[in-house]
Symmetry: C2
Subunit: 420 residues, 2 copies
């Protein structure tokens, strides 16, 4: 029987290390040419699979594939597209199976979060029903760090390191001029539903008085009075106040502070931008001079300051996914299992997609301090090993990172055009 | 005659490498204990000198002083305080001389921009008049890169590297999802009067089509129609549009776009934040989904991605300033002279403070493309060597940079309290 080909697809928001996972997938598959045929990558995620836009990675050089390990963004493209339920839209699943059949695809690796795990799970089931058995493996990824079972989601540790380093550096800046200038600095970070990324800012704090002095979590309803009191105390005690705020912070009405906030010259509500809202609040109520930063995509693409542990885990889940294919597995996901905090040890473990799909892991209550403005030692114990080690990309003579670009050659289509 | 002491003061906004200059000053002075007594550092800049708040750097360990070389912020503190003219406020100058005399200070090193050069110049003159000759040396620093004569201002190249790397990384993120998600990304950078920092973003562009597709300079009046047309062309041609905008961009009325822009929930004008203004313009006129980032202090403190050339030059001007003291010089500033582009060669040259004081170096017209949205090859030739090389700080086992903190022990005061 002819060797089956493998289809790899990235899903949802990209991360600084999702391409390291792709690298793990492709390099591992290339080491088993006897069992696995070609590795195709869906262009722009699952949409590429539906459109039959399949990138032939065998056309990419060894050095470009190796370079994916240190290149941010999603080299093959990604998208935000959730397949409907089989009941609602069987046609989409049938189309996927048609594409698999047309290109002799026997392995489907879906690299994403909870939704993707759900999709991969369904595809594995429908395949059987339609008489085209396909091995579906989910591969974890999300900077939100909200997947269950796994100790951590590849992508998150690098964002965490970026946020911790950034708030540490910016705070040194503010501290040095606070006596006569800016007294309050606010850094906005991602995390609409979970405060994992905001919590990472807390890692910059080593001793009492160290910045950040305040962290605002989506899990904690914004208490204006308590917040302002804490800002004032910090400024009086330390001369300045350094704040990390999550984009997902809500006011007592359950409304995002960001939405409640700024309007532009045309009167449109301004998406993003909770930092300016908080900054203006501080200015109007306390009169302190402020500065604010919104890191937005910078935090999600800062491969130049990636976590070594993250880069290794991202590669490892890609490798493990291919190993699972070779072992005939399906409907599973390789996850990170922490076997020891000190010394930090981890290994790849197998989890059922049905157990991962559509479940969100919130920050444990015990990770946020009583006053709701900081992280506990339990949280530090969890986060600390994740941001350990640097994994710098190579730089060219011009002083910029050597990030690779793929050729992205598509295979010839064999099916009619797909219409959603 | 007793050895004279040296007073070092930092001025204005800090940089990722201003402490490297302090390190150069202190280490060089320590190598000449026979000629130079103690090195005092004014706490919080010139205000510390007026208040007689003098940090005794001889109390700092060798390793802490060495650590200043890779620590961002201003270790001894800085301030925004410009001495008035001698006519307006002779008392301030007399106070400085009193402090110098009280602590046997014979050398005054003022590390800052144009204003500081002016101050150092005046102090050197008034010293003679008042019968207390003091050697005043200006030391260049400013991320705005707007000092005359010097090829570059220490601090700028590291900010330039941060901006170039950041827009390169964020653009890879946007590119990978543009087909179904965000199509326009906007990064706001500093530079209220000069576009040097915004121009640095252009270094990420290697080939036609590379990001950033648009740079908005303070030197170029914002042309809404031309801008929107360029955004649309980029999205149609490349699938997305990556933009670097300087905080100092003005509309045809000469008003800052940022000020013209967002108001918060309380109706206050929002300081900073030209990025959201541009983003909302794009959304309202073209309907593209956007994301924006404001790097603010992050760009000015990102020592973790500092330019090696910058770190070396920052140290060199500190060392040279002390050498000038030993050579009996005064009223001068060590500046960077570029002796060759390819291969890049530079050396320290001597400039008169009177030639530096209160003069602003704008970006040459020939550095901005005809259409006003990009940088020319001449600009690249200038910028390229400056961001070359990485100079990573050491990291601790917890994965964070080993930034040092000084003890900051003050010398006993000998004068009455100063009142402004």
């Amino acid at each position: 029987m002819a060797r089956k080909n493998l289809l790899y697809a990235q899903s949802g928001g990209v991360t600084p290390v999702i391409n390291a996972t792709a690298c793990g997938v492709i390099e591992t598959a290339r080491n088993h040419r006897d069992q696995i045929g070609k590795v195709f990558a869906a262009k722009d995620g699952i949409l590429g699979a539906l459109r039959e836009d399949l990138i032939d990675t065998s056309k990419e050089t060894k050095s470009v594939v190796a370079g994916l390990r240190h290149t941010p963004g999603g080299a093959f493209g990604s998208c935000r597209y959730k397949l409907k339920s089989i009941e609602e839209n069987l046609a989409e699943y049938e189309r996927l199976i048609d594409v698999f059949a047309a290109h002799n695809i026997g392995y489907f690796l879906y690299n994403g979060g909870g939704d993707s795990a759900d999709t991969a799970h369904k595809v594995s089931q429908i395949g059987k029903k339609l008489g085209y058995p396909i091995q579906c493996i989910g591969v974890p990824k999300t900077i939100d760090n909200d997947l269950p079972i796994t100790d951590v989601c590849p992508g998150f540790p690098s964002v965490a390191k970026y946020v911790a380093v950034s708030i540490m550096e910016a705070s040194l800046d503010v501290m040095s001029m606070a006596s006569s200038s800016t007294k309050v600095f606010i850094l906005e970070v991602m995390g609409r539903h979970a405060g994992w990324i905001a919590a990472a800012g807390g890692m910059a704090q080593r001793e009492t008085g160290d910045p950040p002095h305040i962290i605002l979590f989506p899990e904690v309803t914004f208490d204006e009075a308590a917040f302002l009191a804490k800002v004032e105390t910090s400024v009086k005690k330390y001369g300045y106040c350094s704040i990390v705020v999550s984009e997902g912070v809500k006011n007592p009405d359950g409304q995002f502070l960001a939405d409640a906030g700024t309007r532009d010259a045309f009167g449109h509500a301004q998406l993003g931008g909770v930092a300016p809202v908080v900054a203006n609040l501080v200015k109007s109520k306390l009169g302190y001079k402020y500065h604010w930063a919104v890191s937005d995509y910078l935090q999600r693409s800062a491969r130049h300051i990636a976590s070594k542990v993250d880069a290794e885990q991202a590669y490892a889940v890609g490798k493990a996914a291919v190993d699972y294919c070779l072992q005939g597995k399906s409907g599973v996901m390789p996850v990170i299992e922490r076997t020891s905090d000190k010394p930090f040890r981890w290994k790849i473990a197998e989890a059922k997609l049905s157990k991962i799909a559509n479940r969100e892991k919130k920050m444990p209550k015990g990770f946020i301090t009583r006053d709701g403005f900081g992280i506990t030692n339990r949280c530090r114990t969890y986060l600390e090993p994740l941001i350990r080690g640097e994994d710098y990309p190579p730089y060219d003579k011009q002083g910029l990172p050597k990030y690779v670009r793929i050729k992205g050659i598509l295979v010839n289509k064999k099916l009619d055009e797909w219409s959603a």
